[in-house]
Symmetry: C2
């Protein structure tokens, strides 16, 4: 059983949180949602999902988690305006722990300056941002880099994202 | 009187469209809103503003406009997933026409690969993206580069943004 930190705030892409979180739980892992404050509830941009926040960012330490999960939508761009979420994300990349980022999720990793020389994918709109950050961008359902970083493009890629993420967490 | 193209879609930052558009109109200019289809109405992310779309992107030619206005919020990131809006934005930069971009507005200019060597600002969350795109980033209310590109950071900067934009359009 792995402890997976999930950074999430309002306007996340509903299915990109809901479906991987369910798959990770069914595989025996624990997903802990993290935002500014614990106890609040954040809403998906499609109005189809909500997420109860388990921990506030000031209550957690990256060392207490085995992996990082970054769902997409407008959530990652808002979180990266707050240095605490950037620093938290950076720790997982620096320590070579599994990082599972879909759609706009890699935006946090760009701001954390952790993607130079990595192979990855992401939502079409952030392709140039990823390339400018030094990423070898692949237009593929799922990309696994260095047996550590799993990225996917959009909600259609969720089955491949879940498969490779769960494989990596074994 | 200048004709100003405004690229805008849902979840724009309400005040960043409303206030500059009003100021530009009061200064005697014409603001033409452009999205995928004319006639539809797009909504601001705060629920405080709507914008009726004047023209569909396939109906317009950059050569018919004197300047480009890019309000922020989640609008620019969605528009840059569609190559037509990227190409349209690029034309104004290539032809050295006034480009007025606030908050997330410069995201369209990043994807259009038009910012290398320019001095600019933008919303805090896109600072690293701008720097990676070759921008000399300034944390200032408003930055005017080459008497052509006006950028600001967030809604608090709107008065400075309007002042320098209107000055440039003279």
């Amino acid at each position: 059983m792995k402890k997976i930190a999930c950074l999430i705030t309002n306007d996340f892409e509903d299915s990109e949180y809901l479906e991987p979180a369910r798959a990770f739980s069914e595989a025996g892992h624990q997903v802990i949602t993290i935002e500014k404050e614990s106890g609040k509830t954040v809403k998906g941009k499609q109005g189809k999902a909500t997420a109860k926040i388990d921990k506030g960012i000031d209550e957690v330490n990256p060392q207490d988690f085995d992996a990082l999960f970054l769902p997409g939508g407008f959530s990652p761009d808002q979180l990266r305006a707050d240095d605490r979420f950037v620093k938290f994300s950076k720790a997982f990349m620096d320590e070579n722990k599994p990082v599972l980022a879909i759609c706009h999720g890699p935006q946090l990793l760009i701001t954390a300056k952790t993607l130079e020389g990595r192979t990855a994918t992401g939502f079409k709109s952030i392709q140039v941002d990823l390339e400018n950050a030094g990423v070898n961008f692949k237009d593929e359902q799922v990309v696994v880099c260095g047996n550590q970083l799993v990225t996917s493009r959009n909600p259609n890629d969720i089955p491949a994202f879940n498969r490779e993420s769960i494989n990596l967490l074994k």
